[in-house]
Subunit: 337 residues, 2 copies
């Protein structure tokens, strides 16, 4: 069972060793508490969280991280619920995290809507956590990545990261998972639901969901079309050919086949070394991105920059000043500040 | 006629007002000289170049900027030569720039190969400039963007930016043009030539080149396939549906139709206001990118960072240290430096 309410810490704060002990023995209360520390903006909580993360890294445990995206209405919750139940039934321990910066005001999308994932929430082998609140994608992304480290240390076998498929979070999620699944619907409707450009090319597989009843034929047709379209894309660096399948999460149809396909991916990536290679590159890319994020924040929060940047931006947009001259002006001010 | 050799400046340097006068009257020698100033790494040249650029911006002239990309062998040079000749024959003044960071060692791809664009080079209404040399994509991109400003002030109607379609330069070129054309070949060969993922989704149009002789049928087939594939992509924000056409640059077939399609795009973007909106957003994005580039360069060139970053990166890649802890460590060092 998962615990999702924000926890208020009483002083003294928990000890690192107790937190680690609780996490590695998969004590749900401790795990929830540690994730809440990660999500906290208080300096003392963050310091403690950092120590916990460094310790969790030393556990060297590894889950299969799966990203799942798709526009609202495609059936992500039902898919994750049924897919998750299927996996826990075989004894796997699964965790579900959501990355959805737009939902931060409502304290997370997954449990904002109480009717979602009713069964999985009650499953002993499942841990579900809503999207962390945060005022920026960078912040939310960081918290999710750190939570993954904790969940791996706690021994989860599969970590599903859900994202909503219409914003900027998909690239971030793609960068933190081993496998990226795009859920689609058959028919023209889905094309107009505003999924972000570029996501199709990121997908390791596309699953046409809601392939049941009258929808089976259009779904099979969509499957053929997507296969044909993906064939025109350049091949992935690791040699994996993105797969297209159809399923009905509601009817538990096709989920087993999707999981088999993912296991094939996992096994061949482990054998070829692409799995570990991808993880190493992801780690490197997190470091680079995080450094850039901090440098950028330091710049944008500088009082002189705050004052001058909007004025220069307007001039640049109007074509009155070249972007290069403007950049030099403002950086001179920043450096003198 | 174009002038492409690097020019050595004798002191005293040319005066800004003389340069501007030469540029706005489209004096080719002055234009070439000014672009060479832009490409120079000398401080005094760059200062002069900046003044020239700011003055050119005030001219408020606007060309139609067209990006053309495609893998080596797709026929880019022939396409640009024939397409360019067709346009100059109607009295249009056209300029061709190349962005190809990989070619910097050979002083530019366009004229590295002397046989390329033989006719266009001799055309009074055409100005051709090879890829500027530079040690980074950021540097090359900046120089190209600044050259565009000069060419617009000189009254060119159409500016073609050529890029090679396999590296990182396509996104940069996409960000500096009004229209982005992807050249492809029919048949499986082209799919394996390693065009970068994501480029198909950037294209405003795809032209299947070399549609002549025995190749007409496969080209028409490819046209159908690409149309079908693009149909599955999400629509562009400006409402433009990417077009797929075939052509044979060598036989001058289909070029007129491609130009008409581009003019339709131009006209409707002007009427809807998307043209100016796109330019404004591009300007803003140049500013942001350039600020980030400078901040990043200042960081990576810091001696302490140079020493520490590879060590921390290795630890992060190995999973011994979290990217977040590493980032904080190194930024602390940088700030104290």
């Amino acid at each position: 069972m998962s615990s999702n309410k924000p926890i208020r810490f009483k002083k003294p704060l928990p000890e690192v060793k107790d937190l680690i002990k609780g996490i590695v023995s998969n004590d749900i209360a401790t795990l929830s508490k540690a994730i809440t520390l990660i999500e906290s903006t208080k300096q003392e909580h963050q310091q403690l969280a950092n120590e916990v993360i460094e310790n969790c890294l030393k556990q060297k445990k590894q889950a299969f991280r799966i990203g799942i995206t798709g526009v609202p209405g495609v059936g992500k919750s039902t898919f994750i619920e049924r897919f998750g139940k299927m996996l826990t039934a075989t004894g796997k321990k699964i965790a579900v995290l959501a990355v959805d910066p737009t939902s931060s005001k409502s304290r997370g999308s997954i449990l904002g809507d109480k009717t979602r994932m009713q069964e999985l929430v009650l499953d002993q082998n499942a841990f579900i956590r809503p999207s962390p609140s945060g005022d920026s994608l960078g912040g939310v992304t960081r918290k999710t990545r750190e939570s993954i480290i904790l969940l791996e240390a706690a021994g989860y076998d599969i970590i599903i990261i859900e994202t909503v498929g219409v914003g900027q979070s998909e690239t971030a999620v793609h960068d933190m998972v081993d496998f990226f699944l795009l859920l689609k619907l058959a028919g023209a409707g889905d094309q107009l639901q505003g999924i972000k450009r570029g996501i199709m090319e990121m997908a390791d597989a596309i699953a046409i969901n809601k392939a049941d009843g009258d929808n089976i034929k259009p779904a099979k047709q969509a499957e053929v079309e997507f296969k044909r379209a993906l064939h025109l894309f350049p091949p992935k660096e690791n040699g994996w050919t993105p797969k297209v399948m159809s399923c009905s999460a509601l009817k538990d149809d096709g989920l087993k086949e999707i999981w088999e396909m993912m296991q094939n991916f996992y096994d061949s990536a482990q054998i070829s070394g692409d799995f570990i290679k991808n993880r190493r590159l992801q780690n490197k890319s997190w470091l680079t991105q995080h450094i850039e994020l901090i440098l950028k924040m330091d710049f944008t929060q500088n009082p002189k920059v705050k004052k001058l940047l909007p004025i220069l931006t307007e001039k640049v947009m109007e074509g009155q000043l070249s972007p290069f001259a403007a950049a030099e002006d403002i950086i001179r001010e920043y450096k003198n500040g």
